[in-house]
């Protein structure tokens, strides 16, 4: 009950959670030495290259950066529609 009241008076997000989220995002870019705008550019060029060979489902594609234990991985999930007609 007291916990409930305590929680009721507390703000939604604690400032340490903000610190953590912001750090996790900035550290990914620091670690790979790639600022967000270049990462976007890389994604677009990557998609462009694949589109030269085959058709892709642009609605469903998902390219992102994941980080675990200090290893940063580029994770791409790009559904292909089929062979491109020449």
């Amino acid at each position: 009950m007291i916990d409930f009241i305590a929680r009721f008076f507390k703000k939604d997000k604690q400032s340490k959670d903000l610190a953590k989220e912001r750090l996790q995002l900035v550290l990914i870019h620091d670690r790979i030495n790639l600022p967000p705008y270049l990462l976007e550019q890389m994604k677009e060029e990557l998609i462009g290259v694949i589109k030269r060979f085959t058709e892709i489902d642009e609605e469903a594609l998902d390219i992102g950066i994941e980080s675990s234990d200090r290893t940063v991985t580029l994770v791409a999930n790009i559904p292909l529609k089929g062979e491109k007609k020449v």
Partner: protein
């Protein structure tokens, strides 16, 4: 053959010098032969923190340039058994020494000492490169703040690139009251973000300021919480398994109320 440990952080003002002074003093008190090396050339401070500022004759640059022998530059701290300080030069800059000279110096020192603790300057330039050049291990000091954690992460990356194996983390100036309110990252947050092993946690403690005013490291003060934390870390460095000290506090209104009516935190 001893071990060379560099104390580093990237960001300035997070407690590298305080950590070096306290760990060195604690290790010497445990009976080990220890030398503290100040590599912050131009901004030396380990001497004043240790209370040895009036005894400097020669410094690290004199040694490297061959002006004196290593033994002549070492200041013996008579208070804590076998503890020595090799002071930085104050009137030169970081380029007065190079990485190769530092490697040689560390090689010489670890023949005579069990532990060679290197106080690294802030930054990632020549001073940092020198400080890590001869080190076998690294201790990263970070406070639970975004700027310190970001810089620590950068340093960890640079140590990885230099092929130094698994640096260990010392979380400094933790405030349990702020952690409890959710206004400061806790131990688990820091480990999760930096993804390195924890060596110890030092609480924010005003006895550090007082002991530094006196030039006597806090580890010699039995009543200092930070001193106790540093003594524990020193024992962990020697390979002993020492549990983390309890830093949780119960001082909030609701905690007091809960205690009063018999409901306690688990």
């Amino acid at each position: 053959m001893g071990e060379v440990i560099v104390v580093t952080s990237g960001k300035g003002g997070v407690g590298k010098t305080t950590t070096t002074a306290n760990l060195g003093t604690a290790l010497a008190t445990l009976g080990y032969k220890v030398v503290l090396v100040d590599t912050d050339i131009g901004l030396r401070n380990l001497d004043v923190v240790m209370g040895l500022e009036n005894r400097i004759v020669y410094d690290i640059v004199d040694v490297v340039e061959g002006v004196c022998k290593i033994k002549q530059a070492l200041i013996k701290d008579k208070r804590y058994g076998s503890l020595y300080l090799l002071p930085a030069a104050q009137t030169k800059d970081k380029t007065a020494i190079n990485s190769e000279q530092m490697k040689q110096l560390c090689g010489e020192l670890k023949k005579d000492f069990d532990y060679v603790l290197i106080d690294c300057p802030a930054g990632i330039e020549q001073g940092f490169k020198n400080a890590i050049a001869g080190a076998d291990k690294a201790i990263i000091v970070a406070t639970p703040e975004v700027s310190s954690v970001r810089d620590a992460d950068r340093i960890i990356g640079l140590l990885e690139a230099a092929e130094m194996d698994s640096p260990k983390l010392v979380i400094n100036r933790l405030r349990p009251d702020m952690v409890k309110r959710g206004d400061m990252m806790d131990i688990d947050d820091m480990i999760e973000i930096l993804a390195i092993d924890l060596l110890g946690v030092v609480p924010e403690d005003e006895t550090i300021v007082i002991s530094t005013n006196r030039g006597e490291p806090a580890v010699t003060d039995k009543n200092s919480k930070a001193g106790e934390a540093y003594r524990n870390i020193a024992r962990r460095i020697t390979g002993e398994n020492v549990p983390l000290m309890n830093l949780t506090i119960e001082n909030g209104f609701f905690q007091k109320l809960k205690k009063l009516i018999g409901l306690r935190d688990s």
